[in-house]
């Protein structure tokens, strides 16, 4: 189908974009890469009456190293992330996950900020940011605020972003040499949304495991983390034992699989991810 009718603005500045989103007389939606919003509008699941196209906001594009962090503009596309040496060197988990996101033609338009703001529970980037302990910077009429990824994803397509705010920057801690990264997802065919997936970050004294496509949001598996030490990561029997910690996760069924199957698949993807740490 075609999208229902709407008005369209392409503001030249961030301030103008936020002013448009703040209008009380309009149900406005920000348009980033449009790779999820346009299908939702074509299906008539989303019916904003004003689209605020962020495509001219150059200030929201680009990747910069800032000491201990990488600062990634929200409108940076997946293709730009995949082509960045900064990402390859300082955010290798992101580099591992990027090839799994849809297809080349989608990655050329889809943006990191769009994925974060949409919070699709099956999307890769929210889980990666949660695993990395990233921060999301939101900008609204009253200025900017920073929210840790742990507090940002609140439910099915639900985040801490208010309607008059934009995700403007994603701040990712730079990887240190002691960190190792794991990423694995199961999909029916390459580029499809995952049936279950996991992102892990481990160092000699810490471990973060985040599952996606198994619940209503990306979920950190702290109970599993607590049952594993750094020596256990190469030991399938120890990982099997630690899977008892999956009890703490509220697995949710989707069109792909039942909650029970999701739980099983979570164990499969975790073992595979930990079996090929990069």
């Amino acid at each position: 189908m075609k999208a229902p009718d709407f008005a369209y603005e392409r503001p030249a500045t961030l301030a103008d974009a936020i002013a448009l989103l703040s209008r009380d007389d309009r149900d406005a939606a920000p348009l980033a890469g449009g790779q999820s919003l346009m299908p939702m509008m074509n299906f008539r699941m989303a019916r904003p009456d004003l689209l605020v196209d962020l495509g001219s906001l150059g200030e929201l594009k680009g990747i910069a190293a800032s000491g201990s962090h990488l600062e990634i503009g929200a409108m940076t596309t997946y293709a730009e992330l995949a082509g960045s040496s900064l990402i390859a060197e300082q955010a290798p988990l992101m580099a591992l996950a990027l090839p799994h996101i849809a297809h080349s033609a989608i990655r050329n338009r889809g943006t990191l900020g769009g994925s974060v703001a949409l919070a699709d529970p099956a999307a890769e980037m929210p889980a990666v940011l949660l695993a990395l302990g990233a921060e999301i910077v939101l900008t609204g009429p009253a200025g900017s605020r920073t929210v840790p990824a742990d507090a940002f994803f609140k439910g099915l397509f639900e985040t801490d972003r208010r309607p008059d705010e934009l995700v403007t920057l994603i701040r990712v801690p730079a990887s240190d040499q002691h960190q190792r990264h794991g990423f694995y997802e199961l999909a029916r065919r390459h580029g499809d949304y995952a049936m279950a997936g996991v992102a892990t970050v481990s160092s000699p004294d810490s471990l973060r495991i985040v599952f996606f496509a198994v619940s209503d949001r990306p979920v950190r598996a702290q109970a599993v983390e607590a049952l594993l030490t750094s020596e256990d990561l190469g030991d399938p029997a120890a990982i099997d034992k630690a899977l008892a910690g999956l009890d703490a996760i509220a697995f949710a069924e989707d069109l792909n699989a039942s909650a029970r199957t999701k739980r099983h698949l979570a164990g499969v993807v975790l073992k595979r991810a930990l079996g090929q740490l990069a």
Binding site: K2, A7, M38, P39, G55, H103, R109
Partner: protein, 158 residues
């Protein structure tokens, strides 16, 4: 209610175009209905089938997930442009030789994605080719012949 209109200027297959379009018009609908470039096909209209794949500023995109107004100021190349410039000729011949199409509905998008793979220096690795083309659905060939054709071009057999 009258749809909001906006004027756009862009380059399509090397030619400057200036048009007034409704803001809700997708890029692929604009190309097909306003410019008569019906080579880009419309299948699913939600970015899954790949039949509308075309190039914007050199990069393949879904023509159904981009609005015509978003293409303002860009350079668009469609399958017609690839045919005119001869850029996709080796692939076109390989598709012909290998019988890499039956009904032909997916072919314009398939050629665009395959060309992207070849031009990026992709190797004749069948798995890698299948992964790259996984966003383009073909319901006739079973993909085998399409992968054969792409391999032929990379290995210089066409």
């Amino acid at each position: 209610m009258t749809s909001q209109q906006q004027s756009i200027r862009l380059t399509v297959n090397g030619e400057a175009v200036e048009c007034q379009v409704p803001v809700r018009l997708s890029l692929v609908d604009f190309l097909r209905t306003d410019l008569g470039l019906t080579g880009s096909h419309i299948g699913c209209e939600h970015g899954v089938c790949g039949a509308c794949t075309l190039f914007v500023d050199g990069a393949p995109v879904r023509g159904c997930l981009m609005l015509a107004v978003q293409a303002d100021g860009t350079e668009v190349v469609t399958i017609e442009g690839l045919a005119d410039s001869g850029r996709g000729e080796a692939l076109r011949q390989a598709f012909h030789k290998r019988n890499a199409l039956q009904c032909g509905f997916c072919t314009p998008g398939m050629l665009a994605s395959a060309l992207d793979y070849v031009e990026q220096g992709g190797t004749a690795d069948r798995q890698a080719i299948r992964e790259h083309l996984s966003g383009n659905y073909c319901r006739c060939t079973g993909y085998q012949a399409i992968v054969d054709a792409v391999c032929d071009v990379i290995e210089g057999r066409s």
